[in-house]
Assembly symmetry: C2
Homo-oligomer: 149 residues x 2
DNA sequence: TTAAAGAGTTAGAATGAGTCTAAACTGCAA
DNA sequence: TTGCAGTTTAGACTCATTCTAACTCTTTAA
């Protein structure tokens, strides 16, 4: 599937890059389009292989560079499970990750503000947290269409 | 500091190893003693260097092997933060990890059952989770003696 | 119109945590 | 004794990620 961004997403990307002092480039557009097109938490290699379909000369190093830039600009989150390859997620809403033990698929789990609050409340005085990472490991029985994309 | 286990801990270790079909060895005793002596979530290299003080011939490969065995027997948990070296934790109570951005230190955060429950409740139907990992990233102001060991 | 500067891209080398391999060692049992 | 199964060991290997240095592209300055 050839990737390209609609005007809206391209503007969003350009604005976020600009705020971080970075430029919009064709490579960054393609890589970002790949992330938006299939939100299955791809690894760098998966992003690379998908992006190459629309931009054959693209290099793996550039994919690493682009993804790092996006993370720096707050456009994308890194997702780590144990020591596996880092995966990338363009969902900016607060959410946890569920990793299916059998398929390896990663699903987004919405995080209601009340749960965030109860989590923050377990920190003893003096502990100030900016980032909370929550990851589940288990099995999915049904194929919930909302969470299986 | 030379590491050794008291009779009670040695029995616990032997029993857990036995249930997993594994034997108690001098190397496993030393490595386990290192984990119990200083519960600061050491990396493999840190465990290796501490353990070598009481057992100079010990090899790094054996430390990897011992720790893997302990994890398999449920005696120890692996703790990962982003792509840093894996750390090891002998605290078997349900707890989260707080990583100090500045010092790199990792602290245990108690996880009340009610919070565990609220976390499990955010899973959509069909999602069955065995393991939940929670990690905070931030700063510690005070040196809470309960959490700074 | 050219030249210099700066940002981004690229291929390939380097890094390093973790894993694998094969030989040596240990404790126990036939 | 001897054999065997599990364990330990040094060192080779893997592979995701980072680094390096050359190259390209765009913008700015002369
Ligand atoms: Mn928008
Ligand atoms: Mn006990
Ligand atoms: Zn996600
Ligand atoms: Zn811990």
């Amino acid at each position: 599937m050839i990737q390209s961004l609609n005007e809206h997403n391209r503007e969003d990307l350009q604005e976020a890059l600009g705020k971080g002092g970075q430029k919009l480039t064709p490579q960054r557009e393609v890589v970002f389009a790949v992330l938006l097109a299939q939100r299955d938490h791809p690894t760098v290699d998966e992003v690379f292989n998908r992006a190459r379909e629309s931009m054959p000369g693209l290099s793996l190093a550039t994919v690493y560079n682009c993804l790092e830039t996006f993370v720096g600009c707050g456009l994308v989150r890194q997702v780590n499970h144990e020591r596996e390859s880092t995966r990338y997620c363009p969902n900016l809403a607060p959410h946890a990750h569920f990793r299916d033990k059998e398929t390896g698929q990663v699903h987004d789990i919405e995080l209601p503000p009340e749960v965030m609050k109860s989590l923050r409340s377990i920190l003893p005085p003096g502990f100030d947290s900016e980032v909370i990472e929550i990851s589940f490991l288990g099995r999915t029985k049904a194929n919930d269409p909302l969470h299986s994309n």
